[in-house]
Amino acid sequence: MSELIELTAAQAAERIGDGGLSAAELFEAYRVRAAADGDDLNAFTWVADAPPEQTPSGPLAGVPLAVKDLFCTEGVPSQSGSKILEGYKPPYTATAVAKLVEAGTTLLGKTNQDEFAMGSSNENSAFGPVRNPWDRERVPGGSSGGSAAAVAAGLAPWALGTDTGGSIRQPAALCGIVGLKPTYGAISRYGMIAFASSLDQAGPFTRDVTDAALLLRHMVGQDERDSTSLAYPGEIELPQGVDLRGVKLGVPEELTGEGIESGVREAFNATLALAEQLGASVETCRLPHAPHALNAYYLIAPAEASANLARFDGVRYGLRVDADDLLGMYTQTREAGFGAEVKRRIMLGTYALSSGYYDAYYGRAQQVRTKVADDFRAAFERFDLLVTPTSPSVAFRLGEKVDDPLAMYLSDVCTVPMSLAGIPAISIPNGLSDGLPVGFQLCGPAFSESRLLAAAYVLEQALGFDGSAARR
């Protein structure tokens, strides 16, 4: 059974397609592991109790998929990690999930996450923290910590997450796997319980870059139910290639300077040297407004969240706290149903949008956003891709940053700028520091996913990172 777990998703799909492996057998192998997780990693909020009745067909036929809790899955709990939606079963399925099911994947389970996707450690879930399979005293990252831990530990061959300011890339880095945030609009947000509408994007967690390309290919596309979604130009290519000749890599000074832990920096520099050996040219560049990206993000995202979370009021679904009057029901339901971080961000966002403060805060943040996007556009005139460490540190200890929101927010310093600019970015594991995984981030212009995946693949093959230690 353990050999089944060692197959990548692409390998499993091929074997099932050839008839050499039964989809039911593969599903059961993973289902048993996922169901047995319990409090060990606490990666799942729901696990299927049986394989699907119908034999799946399609290019991804039979490869089980774990899905972050915030994706609506019809008839299956979709709670966005929150008490206010505990047990909620939506009447419809998110487009991103529906497309993958149509391509043949099967729903293995729903994964734990920071509440309403707000967090960088998965310590903000109403259903308990998730632990890092590399060291159970440490965080897996967030907000998609459950999906990352599940894939890293071999509880699922691949998983879906969402990335608003880094919530796929950072946990991928901390768990030693591949995570990708696509171009904004490339994947439909219909059915994704919203955090920040101008930033949220679904994306894959996988063991390798080829699997990420494969999953991404079946997720992209315009959806009339999401008016911010775009037609994806061309098809996502599965990566090949053996070198980086002709690839111009830029290293933004503002995101690779102080604040990066020494072990992370060493791994980063070693990967840059490797890239050069593979034929890439590597030069520093400037993103002058990147130091302000985090501040802009922590105004824009909470502001949008304060609007998106207004619907949780006890009226139509979810938790309701009975009260003498309507206002009491609203305020007490929300007080009881939301966790501390969510309340903090709702308050921050409401403040930033309130009369007298809108221009100084939200308005200015949107202007900073323009400058950040402009900086990337200028950089991409000289470079094909930009590279940074994904996270300034390796996985930190549970409890280490919970009392210091600002320190927690700084985990996102390398990932937030790409989110503001709406450009695609991928994190691949590029080494270990004190036994903990380090992530390397590449980003490119809008719709450059194929080029991004191609470069990431070449590096991945040359790095030869072995994540099997986490899959015991």
Binding site: S198, T228, E335, Q366, V368, T370, K371, L406, L420
Partner: protein
Amino acid sequence: MIDRAQVLHVAKLARLALSDDEVERMSRELSAVLDHIEKISELQLDGVAPTSHVIDVVNALRPDEPRPSLPRDVALASAPEPLEQGFGVPSPGAS
């Protein structure tokens, strides 16, 4: 720099019934975060257009054709208080 009165005002706008402890903590934590975020006030941003849509899509409309929406019983399936084919709620009271 965000004091108790402001916290209470914002909490009311956000429909959150914060406890006294929370109000105090919120004032501290939000002040610390805002102190950091405030740095964007130092930037020169005159004439910079704000971005609300990072990848611009204009007039994403669908044909104005009516189609079935969620059946009522499905829409009420998760309702805390389904009432006469609608969502029952407490009265707003004599405000």
